[in-house]
């Protein structure tokens, strides 16, 4: 977490934005939390450390991090989740039935990226895709669907 934090804090300044204590605290919080977290979860943790930070600020800072590609915002079965972007880009497969999620590597999307590039001249920037479907386990339980 620590070295992430340093890189990220520099990044914010290098991009011409200001490094405020609120941004540092919120960044630390989502790093500590690890993995996904909803805005509400982040806010709860932040206010425990620093109650003066406003809820609106948490929302704004989270979106700010997303704009800098420092974090991602993902819709995962109804909940909006934020996650720090690590060095390895990755995506998720999520079972529609049991809700279990697993990580899949970026390479799976290579052909897709190539297609849109060749056919549309479109430079895909896949960040944190969610692939819905049915996991192995639930398929054996309900072979009909």
């Amino acid at each position: 977490m620590t070295h992430y934090r340093l890189n990220y804090l520099n990044l914010i300044r290098e991009m011409g934005y200001r490094l405020t204590p609120q941004r540092q605290i919120i960044l630390d919080t989502i790093c500590e939390q690890g993995g996904h977290a909803t805005a509400r979860e982040v806010y709860e943790r932040v206010r425990q450390k620093t109650p003066s930070i406003n809820r609106a600020t948490v929302y704004r800072v989270l979106d700010f991090f997303c704009e800098l590609n420092l974090a991602t915002k993902t819709e995962l079965n109804g909940r909006t989740l934020y996650e720090i972007v690590g060095e390895e880009p990755h995506h998720h497969i999520v079972c529609n039935q049991c809700g279990q999620a697993a990580v899949v590597p970026d390479e799976y999307f290579n052909e897709l990226t190539a297609h849109v590039w060749q056919q549309h001249g479109f430079k895909a920037e896949l960040k944190h895709m969610v692939i819905a479907g049915v996991c192995r386990h639930c398929q054996t339980l309900n072979p009909n669907t």
Copy 2:
């Protein structure tokens, strides 16, 4: 729109659900609107025709349509959009800079689907994916990014 509507209304009943006037009106509305619409837009149009329909009902019915695979719910740069599912499954590429969207066919995802199937035994059910990136036009404008 009309023949869609008939099929869809039958579908609802065949699945054992009830065909209420609210569901018909909301279905008509998103058909009329065509393309994407936010819940709020649908609600506004619905209330113009039939002010007695409650906001909560619109939200519930839209999600109900999604569960029947009659519509899809998509997150598109911050807005939650609903769209009627046509016969052709399709997806979108959306430019991060100008916001322009284009349709891409389902086949582009074949290799991706094969990967998660082979590697994870996961049966992907891709409904209405959104691929973010930069379109051809914006690339020529800003060759740096």
